[in-house]
């Protein structure tokens, strides 16, 4: 089914704005609840979208989160303009982090962000250009119930 039958909503994320961090993933969760998505899928999406949102807040100047929902699946794409990732393979390893001391003090930067996003989504794509930015796309399937 094409996008014309689906819902698509875009949210702007501001880099370094820790005070609002997390509000977009909360809105995403509320939208999914209103549509009637199964709560176990919402739980995974809430964690993944929060991690992705926080990555933009921590490492980029600005970014966008785009939620697209069709009756078969929904995707959350996050694109940012920022430092990008030098070595994606390394960044995908659990425990690897480039977070600063301050971020760690705040409880972030445990090196679980990207691995968590991958673990919680059904499909996961990542691309990055160092110095330019990163884009993530996570897909959650809805048609077959207990796929994950």
């Amino acid at each position: 089914m094409g996008i014309e039958n689906g819902l698509s909503q875009t949210f702007e994320i501001t880099g370094n704005d820790f005070s609002k961090a997390g509000s977009i993933s909360t809105t995403v969760k509320e939208i999914l609840q209103e549509i009637g998505i199964d709560s176990s899928v919402i739980r995974r999406a809430a964690i993944a979208s929060y991690e992705a949102e926080m990555n933009v807040v921590m490492y980029a100047d600005k970014g966008q989160l785009i939620l697209t929902v069709t009756p078969e699946k929904f995707t959350i794409s996050v694109e940012d303009e920022g430092q990008g990732i030098e070595n994606i393979e390394l960044a995908m390893q659990e425990g690897y982090s480039t977070a600063t001391e301050e971020m760690r003090e705040m409880g972030f930067g445990a090196g679980m962000g990207l691995p968590n996003i991958k673990k919680n989504s059904d499909e996961f794509e990542i691309a990055s250009i160092p110095g330019k930015g990163t884009s993530l796309k996570m897909t959650f399937n809805l048609d077959t119930k207990k796929e994950k």
């Binding site: 969760k29 609840q33 209103e34 549509i35 009637g36 709560s39 009756p71 809805l142």
Partner: protein, 458 residues
């Protein structure tokens, strides 16, 4: 659709539609229709915020009248430890319990003892628990309902240990029926409650078929009677009275009491719904995985802040805190024997029967495709609204109004700004010259024109 029992009723005679309740409701469960407040049952979590803010006392908490006692052969009062915080510093639990017997209960049970046992049981459970974290406390029924309705994905985190009031009532019924040779239903167990939501947890428990309690009597209803009943009671020495208090249990009256008395290092205590929402959002995002236990209460400061209490909640909070400090200082430990508790724990004595099921809000439509369309429609409507959440339409926010319109519960013209715009359109058509004399835009919807007067340079 299930029918949910609620502990609140709106007295239509008293309600004059002032919308204070609608604005205060943390789950947007109130609408004002035709000038009267209306509670949407599936959204209500019985927190009682609306009772507190209603200037006309038009929202009535449903608790049992004192007269219910006559239905039973033997009656036992089980006061919430919050009752102990309602009186002056000299009045300790032993006197309060004696006062309750004066009032006409056949017995009065010190729930703090059971709270102490359950504290140990929680400690045992946390020790062996290996699943996802943090676990969430269940002593506040509003919190359990909040999880069911707004955080159904967190439902498995609710601790499966039963509440002290239920465990105590079950035990009392069993023991008393053996003692007196009476059937269990002839023994009336009454919880003296600081809030209306405990009533629902009795009439419609979140997790199991039937509560062991027979009713709940409001602390505010019994307060005056109890105060005079205590006048005739002989004074016991202060020290002696202290010695009967279970330090682990007394803390259940206030937020942080359980975590503090158990000395749980890796736990959080949070009270007041807006604060609880913040913490639950963080749990949902996976940010609190390193925390073992979250003690959460819907009322500010915990049960002492319940809407059916009398004393100012900061004073009563302080009273419990001071009591705990005194007991710590005096090294008084009138607590249940942990070995006994461990034995009972191994026999599953503390575990809840049945499971708490999620109760997610009804989606916009039963099937995904329609629900998606409705959600799109809702967003579209929302974009046309002034977004000032004035509430004049009878829905608490512009967003909920958009949803009500999509669901057919409200009409777009219920929005006075929308109506004004339509009206202006009509007027412009018939008489375009008078356009400027009518500032029908909502205040704030076009701030650049009004607010910056004098500062704007052209």
């Amino acid at each position: 659709m299930n029918h949910y029992f609620h502990s609140l009723r709106i007295d239509e005679g008293k309600c004059d539609g002032r919308m204070k309740c609608m604005k205060a409701c943390p789950t947007q469960a109130i609408r004002v229709r035709k000038g009267k407040a209306l509670i949407l049952e599936d959204r209500c979590i019985d927190c009682g915020e609306c009772i507190t803010v209603c200037p006309n006392s038009a929202i009535i908490p449903l608790t049992d009248p004192f007269g219910e006692l006559a239905k039973f052969r033997h009656t036992v009062a089980i006061p919430s430890p919050a009752l102990y915080a309602q009186f002056g510093r000299e009045i300790l639990p032993d006197k309060i319990l004696a006062g309750l017997k004066q009032l006409g209960f056949d017995d009065a049970f010190d729930l703090a003892q059971t709270c102490g046992e359950v504290s140990f049981a929680i400690q045992e459970y946390l020790r062996e628990y290996k699943g996802p974290k943090p676990l969430i406390s269940n002593m506040c029924p509003t919190i359990v309902r909040l999880v069911q309705v707004k955080y159904p994905d967190l439902i498995d985190l609710i601790i499966p240990i039963d509440t002290p009031r239920e465990i105590a009532a079950r035990d009392i019924k069993r023991k008393k029926s053996n003692l007196f040779g009476l059937k269990e239903h002839k023994i009336g167990t009454f919880y003296l409650t600081p809030c209306p939501v405990k009533m629902i947890s009795i009439k419609q428990p979140a997790e199991k078929g039937k509560s062991h309690l027979d009713g709940a009597i409001s602390i505010s209803d019994i307060y005056g009677l109890l105060l005079s009943a205590m006048e005739d009671i002989k004074k016991v020495s202060y020290r002696k009275a202290l010695e009967s208090i279970c330090i682990l249990g007394i803390g259940w009256a206030m937020v942080g009491g359980v975590c503090r008395t158990l000395r749980l290092k890796n736990s959080l205590a949070v009270s007041g719904l807006p604060e609880v929402l913040k913490v639950f959002n963080d749990i949902e995002r996976g940010r609190l995985r390193n925390i073992d236990f979250v003690e959460a209460y819907s009322c500010a400061q915990g049960c002492v802040g319940g809407s059916l209490t009398i004393e100012n909640l900061y004073i009563s909070y302080n009273k419990i805190l001071k009591l705990i400090e005194t007991l710590e200082f005096e090294k008084i430990k009138a607590c249940p024997d942990i070995r006994e508790v461990r034995k009972l724990y191994a026999q599953n004595y503390f575990f809840i029967k049945g499971k708490v099921e999620p109760r997610p809000l009804k989606p916009l439509a039963p099937d995904l495709a329609t629900a998606i369309q409705k959600r799109k429609e809702k967003e579209k409507i929302y974009e046309t609204l002034p977004k000032i959440d004035c509430g004049a339409c009878g829905s608490p926010t512009c967003l909920t109004f958009a949803e009500d319109v999509v669901l057919g519960e409200a009409k777009l013209t219920d929005c006075i700004f929308n109506l004004a715009q339509k009206f202006r359109g009509l007027r412009e058509e018939s008489c375009p010259a008078v356009d400027k004399s009518a500032p029908l835009n909502p205040a704030g919807s076009n701030p650049s024109k009004k607010r910056k007067k004098g500062k704007v340079k052209k």
